[in-house]
């Protein structure tokens, strides 16, 4: 009996180890590859024999990667700010006030989050051209809203709904109007929720690829995902994989750190958005 338990335990831990290797290895390999220059890339060494920073220097010097990062930050930041602003008041109404058409509205928002991006592409392309913002980051700030707005509204509505009713009633008796209730009673309580929602929306905007590659042309306007995808574009014999990996690592490390630090909040935010509704 004891032997069987022991074997079972060992197998179990083996499984856990396997899962960890499976999930982490590609990331590890990317880091390793980014530190290999030139011909070192053509050898498969688990650990770089002569770690070098040439790739990292290269993407900033020759590829203007810093500009790409800046673009991504501006776009994602702006989109999240606008989304949260619009969602806060809307979520109060959707989460706490009974009015005709509320359910229909909630369903509409859910439906919009299910749109395939390509289904709005031609229409959005026309809109972007018409507004004259093609090949600018404005086109992205505008188009990304279709991704972030439903999400932030939905998640914030769940959080708003969960705030205690008596707190609102006390404020009403004190003479607060709805706007005051949102700003001076609820908002201070919602900061963690806003931060989490904002973070998740930021990650979504940061990752977006289809609109970014369709609506931008010049390198100075590109965002990070496009830049990383196009580093490999040309069909030369010497693919700059080292550089691709370097760019990948630069972009990924802050995200990984952020996610690891805010693990618990992110997990509850994701499940609040999905499982509850």
């Amino acid at each position: 009996m004891g032997a069987r338990r022991a074997i079972g335990r060992i197998l179990f831990y083996l499984l856990v180890a396997l899962i960890i290797v499976y999930t982490v290895f590609p990331f590890y390999w990317a880091i390793v590859s980014s530190l290999k220059e030139g011909s070192a890339l053509y050898r498969v060494d688990l650990f770089p024999p002569h770690p070098a920073w040439g790739n990292y220097v290269g993407i900033f010097q020759q590829q203007n990667f810093a500009r790409n990062i800046l673009n991504s930050v501006i776009v994602a930041g702006a989109v999240v700010a606008v989304s949260l602003l619009l969602s806060v008041t809307a979520s109060y109404a959707l989460g706490r006030v009974e009015f005709r058409g509320r359910t229909a509205l909630l369903l509409t928002i859910l439906a919009v989050s299910m749109f395939p991006q390509v289904a709005v592409l031609s229409g959005m392309f026309e809109l972007v051209s018409w507004l004259g913002i093609y090949d600018t980051i404005w086109s992205l700030i505008l188009s990304y809203l279709i991704l972030t707005l439903p999400f932030t509204t939905w998640v914030l509505t769940t959080f708003m709904r969960d705030l205690p009713k008596e707190l609102e009633e006390a404020a009403l008796v004190d003479g607060a109007r709805p706007w005051t209730i949102i700003t001076r009673v609820f908002l201070p309580l919602l900061w963690p929720a806003l931060a989490t929602t904002g973070l998740l929306a930021f990650i979504t905007a940061w990752n977006e690829f289809m609109f970014a590659i369709t609506f931008t042309l010049s390198n100075e306007k590109r965002t990070v995902p496009v830049a990383i995808a196009l580093i490999s574009g040309a069909s030369h014999f010497e693919l700059p994989w080292g550089r691709v990996m370097a760019a990948s690592v630069i972009v990924t490390i802050p995200l990984v750190v952020l996610v690891l630090v805010f693990q618990r909040r992110i997990v509850s935010g994701l499940t609040a958005g999905a499982v509850k509704g």
């Binding site: 856990v16 053509y42 031609s122 229409g123 990752n207 995902p225």
Partner: protein, 315 residues
Amino acid sequence: MEAVRQRSEAESPAAAPAELTELTRQRRRSARIFVLPMLAVLAVVAGWPLLRTIFFSFTDANLGSLEGYKLIGLDNFQALAADGDWWNAVFNTVRFAITSVIIETVLGMIIALTLNAHIPGRGMLRAAVLIPWAIPTVVSAQMWNWMYNDLYGVLNHIFLGLGLIHQPLAWTANPHLALTAVVLVDVWKTTPFMTLLILAALQLVPLEIYEAARIDGISPLKVFWRVTLPLIRPALMVAIIFRTLDALRIFDLPFILTGNSKATASMAVYARQQLIDFQDVGYGSAASTFLFLVVAVFTVIYITAGRVRFGTGDR
């Protein structure tokens, strides 16, 4: 003292409309004003473009000059129905979605069960599992692209070394392997999401149930099939449906791994190719509309089936 009156009236059915307090009226007024900005923006960025796309699918519009188009009725759709490449893309997408979701669910379940068991190192496992989710899709695609490289990729190196294969495989170029390669990356990227959802559902199951089962001496496997699974079924179904809808819409991964290759093109890849590369806005829009309808039908089924969850909400 003052007069005391306490007559109780006979019951009257609630037929007359209630006179609302200023409070209710004020709240409803504010509510409508509060949702307006969000709705307006949504109408502009989602509603309008969608309607335009659907409109374009009935025209022969061209990307170079969007204004000069003619209405051509259902021609685009008829061409689509006869287009072998399109149906190939549909088939690819469906195959991809089914395979991906099945693997993600099973793997996610295994990992979630592991995380749910109180073992030391649980935090490390959870952190490790979150990493693929945190990495942008494009980056994941490129990382795996590099690992898939037929000449210098580490995967071929390991498999050759283990004796599993005798020739380096062209993972992304070989049409027979390409879809599998894409599925593997998607599984790697999205299993964390499934894991988290399943884990949340598992954690809602009270511990006493497991303890009772242990006292009764029921084998862990049976406990899983007969007890755990039925209890987490609702949340599991939600997760599966969400993932399936996501998988049907996929674009980034196949595009970056294999470009517009026919072996792996999803519906979204195909539609965009028509739209942007071939500049055939009419045809591309028709394909997009078709994809939209497929997802819409699924979504409607899901929403009406799960309607009970929303409650009544309005009076």
